[in-house]
Symmetry: C2
Subunit: 688 residues, 2 copies
């Protein structure tokens, strides 16, 4: 969006230049046809040539801008992505699932290093959120009966719009086809008129809001066909993204694989609230698999059919969304992208979190607190803070019940990717399940002393209404019960003074005459001992696979080998997430060194440090390169039986440490109690 101002100017400019070229070419033709003087013709041709040069200069400038937006820059980004993905697949961080059977789109396996990274990310998530915040962690099944997902709205609304190739039956996401068409137009069609350009920009902006009909109209208008066959497409229709199944042997109990973990928490609210001593606020958390039967998965690990979610549901009193620990994160400063900046076509800006809450940009302290905690979580993992922003949802993006939503977006080769959603969902979910199940999912606040409240009581007399209005009494009864306090009091006064009143019944489309004996209206005083209310929920929801993929990209770099004849791949994982913390290499093949390496290996195991020992005789440089490529932060090289060296992956610095100390020193840096810089001071450096 940011570059579009100059892009638009250039497009206009190009259109003008091309029009001038066309006009001059016509002029030349005319001169020739009229048999004009050669000198006149030559002059006109020279002008035409000059105009063509100008037009192509503008075209080149436009092309350059388009390239940096997504075209040529995209080539660089794709090359980078290919390098990362090649390394990830070759080293078995992840692979397509069921590869020997040609795989299934959107399903991936984590191999050993990927699995270890994932386990580390989840362990840190538990430490950072569950343990530090005393959250109530739960673990619910993936198989979910239909009624739960009807209440949550997923059975009705968890859909994407789909079109089918009318001949082959191949399915596509309708919005993806339209998006691809529009992007392609903008990137490659330099002759787009200003009107067309504006229109296509608009389509891209409102893409997510288009109805099935509107999408269908656009697809037809642009003549979009099936990408693989060019066959005509069906009209778009909704496809539910849940994997459906059947629970039990009867075939009569439909179920789904859960599309999110949150519902398991909501349906347990009552027990969890009790477990927490009937006190608010409290948070429940869940880590688990979720499933979405994507129509046509793409973008590798970013859009998959099964993924790990980590979700928090923080329940608060809607009247008090302050957070006791907000002060701990208020001073953090990072890239925020509020609604206003987005609408003004500006970029995300560094902002101090506390100020965004005080200024009302972020709706409340609890939401702000979680934004801060998510920032700390992601940057601790190794996400580059320059490529992390918190983007506020536009008003049309949010569900009608949501109060405010912010996405943690991480920039990678696919663009800015939503990795964590942090939403204030108000009381929506608990209310929906209360209504469907009949079990009140509410909280109570005891008043310090009882409060006297006045309650309006409207009691229609079914008998009298029945006698007077026969078939219509039900609608009239409902209309009477639905009166506002003001309307009821007005009626009460009228009935007392005049004995009857004209009453408009909308559903009947006419007014009826209500008499005194047909309804009793009174105000009763009642003592209330407690306030009963549905808590609001603030939901941070983490797509673990997306975070891990972005982490892979942010940690990947290449550097020349010692001989400078090749580029070596490195993942600069922080020790916290590194799949393996340490390697042990005997410098040369030698029984004594092998023995020493085994002793060190035992002490590392005892200290709980994951490591690999490599006693192949391969050159030490090759062994370093092999482990740099899976992001092992420290390498112990055994070159004596009394002391060894520890090498840091990124700086390649080495220090010398005694055999007895080495496991504890590695543990100290691997656990994050000390940094490599701290350690460097304490031990003699070693030059290879």
């Amino acid at each position: 969006m940011e570059a579009s101002a100059s892009e638009e100017t250039l497009r206009g400019n190009l259109a003008e230049k091309r029009a001038a070229v066309d006009a001059q070419a016509e002029a030349v033709r005319k001169l020739k046809a009229e048999g004009a003087e050669n000198s006149d013709i030559n002059a006109a041709v020279d002008t035409l040539k000059a105009l063509k040069v100008e037009a192509s200069a503008v075209a080149r400038r436009l092309q350059a801008i388009l390239s940096s937006n997504g075209g040529g820059g995209a080539t660089d980004r794709e090359a980078f992505r290919q390098a990362v993905v090649n390394t990830l697949e070759r080293r078995l961080f992840y692979v397509a699932s069921f590869k020997i059977y040609r795989g299934v789109a959107g399903l991936y396996d984590y191999g050993p290093p990927g699995c270890a990274v994932k386990a580390n990310v989840l362990a840190f998530w538990r430490q950072h959120f569950v343990l530090e915040e005393n959250m109530l962690e739960v673990d619910c099944p993936c198989v979910t009966p239909e009624i739960v997902l009807k209440a949550s709205g997923h059975v009705e609304k968890f859909t994407d719009l789909m079109v089918k190739d009318e001949k082959t039956g191949t399915c596509y996401r309708a919005d993806h086809l339209l998006k691809d068409y529009c992007k392609d137009k903008l990137e490659k069609d330099l002759s787009l008129s200003t009107e067309k350009f504006t229109e296509i920009k608009h389509v891209l902006a409102v893409l997510d809001d288009l109805s099935a009909e509107e999408l269908g109209t656009k697809l037809k208008e642009y003549g979009i066909t099936a990408p693989d066959t060019k066959n005509p497409l069906s009209d778009p229709y909704p496809f539910n993204l849940m994997f459906q199944t059947s629970i039990g042997p009867s075939g009569l109990s439909p179920g789904y694989m859960r599309p999110e973990t949150a519902q398991g928490i909501f349906v347990n609210f009552k027990d969890l609230y009790y477990y927490n001593g009937n006190r608010l606020p409290f948070a429940a958390a869940q880590i688990g698999q979720a499933f979405r039967n994507e129509i046509s998965p793409r973008q590798g690990l970013l859009r998959v059919r099964e993924f790990t979610l980590a979700e928090i549901e923080h329940f608060v009193d809607p009247k008090d969304k302050s957070h006791a620990k907000f002060v701990d994160v208020a001073d953090l400063e990072f890239l925020m992208f509020p609604r206003e900046l987005q609408l003004a076509g500006e970029l995300a800006k560094p902002m101090v979190l506390g100020e965004t809450v005080w200024k009302g940009i972020v709706n409340n302290e609890t939401l702000g607190y979680f934004i801060g905690r998510v920032y700390l979580f992601l940057t601790h993992l190794g996400i580059d803070k320059e490529r992390l922003r918190f983007r506020q949802h536009l008003l049309n993006e949010m569900a009608h019940y949501a109060v405010d939503c912010w996405d943690a977006e991480i920039e990678c080769s696919y663009g800015w990717i939503e990795c964590v959603g942090i939403a204030d969902r108000s009381a929506y979910d608990l209310r929906a399940h209360t209504e469907k199940s009949g079990v009140p999912l509410v909280a109570h606040e005891k008043y310090s002393e009882p409060i006297e409240v006045e309650k309006l009581l409207i009691t229609p007399s079914k008998k009298e209404l029945g006698l007077a209005f026969k078939g219509n009494q039900k609608m009239i009864t409902e209309a009477l019960e639905a009166m506002t306090e003001a309307e009821a009091l007005e009626m009460k006064a009228a009935l007392e003074s005049k004995g009857e009143i004209e009453f408009q019944v909308c559903n009947l489309g006419k007014s009826v005459s209500i008499k005194k004996n047909m309804v009793s209206i009174s105000i009763e005083k009642k003592k209330e001992h407690q306030r009963v209310f549905t808590p609001s929920v603030i939901e941070p929801s983490f797509g673990i696979g997306r975070i891990i993929y972005c982490l892979f990209e942010h940690c990947f770099y290449t550097r020349p080998s010692k001989s400078e004849d090749e580029q070596l791949n490195v993942f600069r994982f922080p020790p916290l997430v590194a799949p393996i913390k340490c390697t042990v290499f005997p410098l040369i093949k030698n029984e004594k060194f092998d023995e020493t390496a085994k002793i060190i290996s035992k002490s590392l195991t005892a200290a709980g440090i994951s490591h690999i020992i490599d006693i192949t005789g391969t050159s030490i440089g090759k062994r370093y390169a092999r482990t740099d490529e899976i992001g092992v932060p420290f390498a112990i090289t055994v070159d004596s039986t009394t002391s060894v060296t520890i090498r840091d992956r990124d700086s390649k610095d080495q220090i010398r440490v005694s055999i007895d100390e080495v496991a504890l020193v590695v543990k100290e840096v691997a656990d994050g109690q000390s940094t490599w810089a701290d350690i460097m001071w304490r031990f003699p450096t070693h030059s290879a």
Copy 2:
């Protein structure tokens, strides 16, 4: 099974006594009918009474044995179970899933303490198996395409036999109905004849092997009807236990929720073998959800529709199943229940693991090594070693390809429950996927120098066979190619000497005359550089939920409150698995103590110790009881601002420790670096 000898004797005895009673009663009747002397009649009646007394004495003894087998003992066990389950549900260790919607049979949620126990068990599993053995951990999806589960045999054979209530359609497991009937008969029907008794015992023994037809015949024979309605039942038929779904939007790609995690490892064998440097042996491991759509789940957490499995696939050269670390476990001694003991009707016996392997009771060292490691794993968690046995599968229990299988069975209120299966599955799984996918899942062993091998080459001449036999040449070609070496050599000799030979083609049902020009048979010498083979796999498979449930039962006990007026519940979880390691209680409500408690809480968080802080003014005894009931091993009571007490849950011993040290001391015992006994020596004891 063990008590059945005396039970059988008594049943025989009882039958005799009853026959005697009947005969004597008949005699009395006869005397009366004949109008015999009163004195004779009285004498006969006295004999009858005496016989009746004897018969009922035998009946009582039989009843007593039946009760201790399963009847009255069952009442005690059920009462114990109810106490455990009540505590577990009340304290939210687990609850029925989707309770507000009346739940779904066989689906459970782990609440906060249960979830923490599960996370601790899994973390220890990773430490004990994956880290210590350098296993390759993977993480594959639950959604699995049909082809994979066709190859593994699950689509065809993963079934239970089901019967339907013919009127209501309610489904039951056929074997369960028969089992319930038989058990009930044995427990309650004292008048069972010896033949009937033996027959029913036999039915119970072979229950798992009965075909659908045999089961149906037995159900009919015993007149078994639907338990809820007494309606007639359908014939038994197989019901596949996998949850079925559809992958992608087309509806044309059937898939299932995986019934085990193992297949994800097998299909990745090639990549994992490469990852391991093309070396054997190595093990891959996976923790994840598995799904079984049980017909009628019962037994709470023991038979559920979704559960967490932790599986290891250890790949070895079938020619060498030794294990380098077997010596580390060879001296362990624990309850083993080999096939021979089971068949002899004896009990499990303590055996030294090493001896069972040397004697060939356990098939090989690798299998033995895992049995030992599983024993260490379970007892470390807190499973009572007196109620843990390793039971060998009987020959008819094992799959045809299996070499040897041992189940770790844990005794709980439901009886002996299979919690870990440890099986040598030979090369079955890799071969099945090789065949179905066409991708060879094999290992290679390089010979130190090439080996010369002779290979038989049979080359039928299609042209000549076609000319001679027209339509039949294909079958003849196949028959020629399928000849054994001996047959081929015989044919070669005959063709060379006589020029032709009569050859029996089974598929044609006749013999044909093969001439010299129709087939060439030769022996070629070839140099082979490596051996290519399919590895064997040894598979320890852990049902995490079952282990956890048995752990709950083994750790549960009650003890009187201080005032002795009630029984308090305690879980004696080892610190390793305790859901929360420590509590912090200010002794009385007091600002300074609260402040001190918060300081301690911060240092515990920094040390990574999960804890709760309770500053409600409730009596200290009540707070202890509340946390004993969820198995918190240590309680810190703040009764001064400089030092505090630490209380041990089970001994109730208390020691006094300074504020600065307390977090580290708790960490030391909670992490298992020291025991409570060690700690007791170092600090002054505190008497409350």
